[in-house]
C-alpha cells in the first residue's frame, strides 16, 4: 500500500462503512457503533497523514482511474483542500460520539438507517474537499444535500415540512450551479477546474455569457450556504433536525459551501476577473453581506429557543465569511478562511452543548435553562467557552479570525462591513450573556422530561455527550493559540497568487 492513494481512503472508508451498515445493520444492532467508529477513525488517520504530506511536500494532483486530466476526473490536494479534509474528519469523529448516544435516545429503531445517511454525508463532504472537477463538485454537492434532506426529515414535529422547503430551495440552488457549469462548458469545452482557469482569460468578446455563468454559480452556492437574503430555509431546517444530525450538519454544511465558493472564485475564475474587472459587484456584495450580518443578528435577538438562536447566528457567520472574501485584500481573505475553521469548531461546541442540555432537560426554551450551572457545571463551562469564542474574546479562536476580518475591512475602507462586524459582536455578547445569566443565576425551573433518572441535584450529561464537548472546548483555545503557525504555514498558501 503506497501513500499515493491516501486521500481516497478518507472518502472510501465512510462510504464502505455506510454500505456495510446498510446491508447488515438490520440484523446486527450492536454493529452500528463499532462500524461507525472504525470508518471515521480510519478517515481521520488518513486525512492527518495527507495534511502532513501536503505541508512537507507541497500540493499534488491525482487523476481517478489514471485517465489524464482534462479527460479524467482530477482531484487536487492542496493546502486549503487538505485543511478542509482534516477539519471535516475531526468534526465528524467528534460529533459521531455524541450522535451515537443521542440517536439511541431519539430514534432507537432506525439507528442503522440514520447512520447510513450520516456516513454517506461525511463521504460526500470529503469528496467536496478534494475534487478538482466542476461537474464532480455538483454530483458530490447533491450527494451531501440529499442525505441532509433525509436526515432532517427524521426529526419530530414539523421536520418533514421544513425538509421539504429545504428540498425546493436547495434544488433551485443546485440547478443554478448546474446551469452555470453548463454555460462554462458551452464557452470553453472543458469541465476541469485548472483547464477552465487557463481558458477563461483567453475568452474576449464573451463577457456577457461569462458574467452570467459567474452569476449563476454564485447565486446557486449562496442559496446552499444560506447567505442573506437567501437564508429562509435554514432556521426551520436546522431547528427541527434530530439532535444527532444537528451536531454534524450545522458545523459543516454551510462552511464547506463557503469553501466551494472559494474554489469557484479562485480556482476557476481568477481574482483579476472578480475584483478588478467588476469592481461595482464587489462593493454590492460586501454591502449585502454587512446588511445580512446585521439582520441575522437582530433576528437572533428575538428568539426564545436556544437552537433557533444558534441557527440565526450561523447565518450571520456566513455573512462574515462571504464579506471577508469579497474584501479583495489578503487580510480579509485570511480572516475568512481562518473563520471557516474557527466557526466550524465554535458551532460544533455550541451544538454539542445544546444536545447535552436537551438530553437532560428535554427542551431548549430559555425558561428551561434556569439554574443549569448547578446541575450541569461542565456542560455550561464548555458552553461558556464556546460563547466567548463567538463573541470574540482572546485567546479563543473566534477572536483571531474576527481580528483579521476587521483589519481587512478597515484596510479596504468598507466601513459598513466593519460596523456590521462590531454590531454583531455586541449582539452576540448580549445573546450569550443572557443565557449565561439565566443558567448561572436564576433558580432552577421545574424538571422537564428527562431520559434517565439521576441522583441528587447534580445531573451532568452522560459521558458520551460530555467528552466530545470538553475536547472541542479545549480545541477552541488550542486552535486560537496556534493561529500563528496555521496562518503562516497553511493559509498563506491558500490565497491566490499576488495576495
Amino acid at each position: 500500500m503506497s501513500f499515493l492513494n491516501l486521500h481516497m481512503y478518507t472518502l472510501a472508508a465512510p462510504l464502505v462503512g455506510a454500505m456495510l451498515l446498510f446491508a447488515v445493520g438490520r440484523f446486527g444492532r450492536r454493529l452500528v457503533t463499532p462500524l461507525v467508529f472504525a470508518a471515521l477513525s480510519l478517515s481521520l488517520a488518513a486525512s492527518v497523514l495527507v495534511f502532513l504530506e501536503v505541508l512537507t511536500a507541497g500540493p499534488f494532483s491525482y487523476t481517478v482511474g489514471n485517465w489524464e486530466a482534462p479527460y479524467g476526473i482530477e482531484l487536487v490536494v492542496d493546502h486549503l483542500g487538505s485543511l478542509m479534509n482534516l477539519l471535516i474528519a475531526s468534526v465528524a469523529l467528534t460529533a459521531c460520539v455524541s450522535s451515537l448516544r443521542r440517536s439511541s435516545a431519539e430514534l432507537p429503531e432506525r439507528r442503522h438507517q440514520f447512520f447510513t445517511l450520516y456516513l454517506i454525508l461525511i463521504a460526500g463532504l470529503h469528496g467536496l474537499a478534494l475534487t478538482g472537477d466542476a461537474f464532480n463538485l455538483y454530483v458530490l454537492l447533491e450527494i451531501t444535500s440529499i442525505t441532509t434532506y433525509g436526515l432532517i426529515a427524521l426529526g419530530k414535529g414539523r421536520a418533514p415540512l421544513s425538509s421539504f422547503n429545504y428540498i425546493v430551495m436547495g434544488s433551485i440552488g443546485a440547478c443554478f450551479y448546474l446551469l452555470g457549469i453548463g454555460y462554462l462548458y458551452i464557452l470553453t469545452g472543458t469541465l476541469n477546474m485548472a483547464d477552465l482557469h487557463r481558458i477563461i482569460p483567453l475568452l474576449d468578446g464573451r463577457g456577457a455569457a461569462l458574467a452570467t455563468a459567474f452569476a449563476f454559480l454564485m447565486v446557486g452556492l449562496w442559496i446552499k450556504m444560506a447567505f442573506f437574503p437567501l437564508h429562509v430555509w435554514l432556521p426551520n431546517a436546522y431547528t427541527d433536525m434530530p439532535d444527532g444530525a444537528a451536531v454534524l450538519i450545522a458545523p459543516l454544511m454551510t462552511k464547506v459551501t463557503v469553501f466551494l465558493m472559494i474554489r469557484v472564485m479562485f480556482s476557476i475564475f481568477s481574482p483579476v476577473y472578480e475584483f478588478i474587472q467588476h469592481v461595482a459587484v464587489q462593493q454590492i456584495i460586501v454591502g449585502v453581506a454587512a446588511v445580512g450580518i446585521v439582520c441575522a443578528s437582530a433576528m437572533a435577538l428575538g428568539q426564545k429557543d436556544l437552537r433557533r438562536m444558534l441557527t440565526y447566528i450561523i447565518i450571520a457567520e456566513v455573512g462574515y465569511m462571504v464579506g471577508g472574501l469579497w474584501l479583495a485584500n489578503a487580510k480579509g481573505m485570511t480572516g475568512a478562511i481562518l473563520h471557516i475553521v474557527n466557526d466550524a469548531l465554535m458551532t460544533l461546541c455550541l451544538f454539542l452543548a445544546a444536545a447535552a442540555i436537551a438530553h437532560r432537560t428535554g427542551a431548549l426554551g430559555f425558561e428551561r435553562l434556569g439554574g443549569l450551572y448547578r446541575r450541569m457545571p461542565l456542560t455550561m463551562a464548555a458552553f461558556t467557552v464556546g460563547a466567548l469564542s463567538m463573541i470574540g474574546v482572546p485567546p479563543t479562536c473566534g477572536f483571531f479570525s474576527k481580528w483579521y476580518l476587521l483589519l481587512g475591512g478597515i484596510e479596504a475602507g468598507q466601513w459598513l462591513y466593519v460596523g456590521a462586524l462590531l454590531f454583531s459582536s455586541l449582539v452576540n455578547a448580549v445573546l450569550f450573556f443572557r443565557i449565561i445569566e439565566i443558567a448561572y443565576f436564576r433558580t432552577p425551573a421545574e424538571d422537564g422530561p428527562v431520559h434517565e433518572p439521576g441522583k441528587g441535584p447534580r445531573r451532568e450529561a452522560p459521558q458520551a455527550l460530555l467528552q466530545p464537548l470538553v475536547v472541542t472546548a479545549a480545541a477552541l483555545i488550542g486552535v486560537g493559540l496556534a493561529t500563528g503557525p496555521l496562518v503562516e504555514r497553511v493559509i498563506r498558501f491558500a490565497l491566490p497568487v499576488g495576495y
Partner: protein
C-alpha cells in the same frame, strides 16, 4: 427588428428551454400545493438537462455509436458525430433528479400522514393552531 427576429429564430431551442425553466420556476414558487412544487422542480431540472444536451448538437451530426472495426481502421472524425460527453453528464444529472424526487415523495407521504392535506396554507394553519 430584423436582427432580433433572426436571433430568436436561429436559437429557438434555447428560447424554448428558457420558457420551460420559467414554467418550472413559477410552479415551485407560485403554487401552494406541495406536489405541484415538486413537479415544477422536475420541469426545471429537465429543462437544464435539455439545454446541456442541445449544446452538443452539430449540423449534420450523427449518433455517436460507431463500429469498432471501422474506428480501429480509419479513426473517428469528430465533426460527423454529435458530442457524447453532455449525454453522459446528463445521465448523472437524471440520476440525481430521480433521487431527489424519490426522497421528496417519501417526505410528502409523511407530511400527508401527519397533517392530512398537501396544501401549504392548510398545513400552516394546522401547525399554528
Amino acid at each position: 427588428m430584423e436582427a432580433i427576429l433572426s436571433e430568436i429564430i436561429a436559437k429557438y431551442n434555447y428560447w424554448i428551454y428558457v420558457v420551460l425553466m420559467m414554467i418550472g420556476f413559477y410552479a415551485m414558487i407560485g403554487k401552494s400545493n406541495l406536489v405541484k412544487k415538486l413537479i415544477g422542480m422536475n420541469i426545471f431540472q429537465t429543462a437544464i438537462i435539455l439545454m446541456f444536451i442541445s449544446a452538443g448538437v452539430k449540423k449534420g451530426g450523427g449518433i455517436p455509436i460507431l463500429d469498432k472495426q471501422a474506428v480501429l481502421e480509419r479513426g473517428v472524425e469528430a465533426a460527423s458525430i454529435v458530442n457524447p460527453l453532455p449525454h453522459v453528464l446528463m445521465l448523472t444529472a437524471i440520476v440525481v433528479s430521480v433521487s431527489v424526487t424519490g426522497v421528496a415523495l417519501a417526505i410528502l407521504q409523511r407530511i400527508h400522514g401527519l397533517y392530512g392535506s398537501l396544501e401549504e396554507d392548510e398545513i400552516l394553519e394546522k401547525i399554528d393552531r
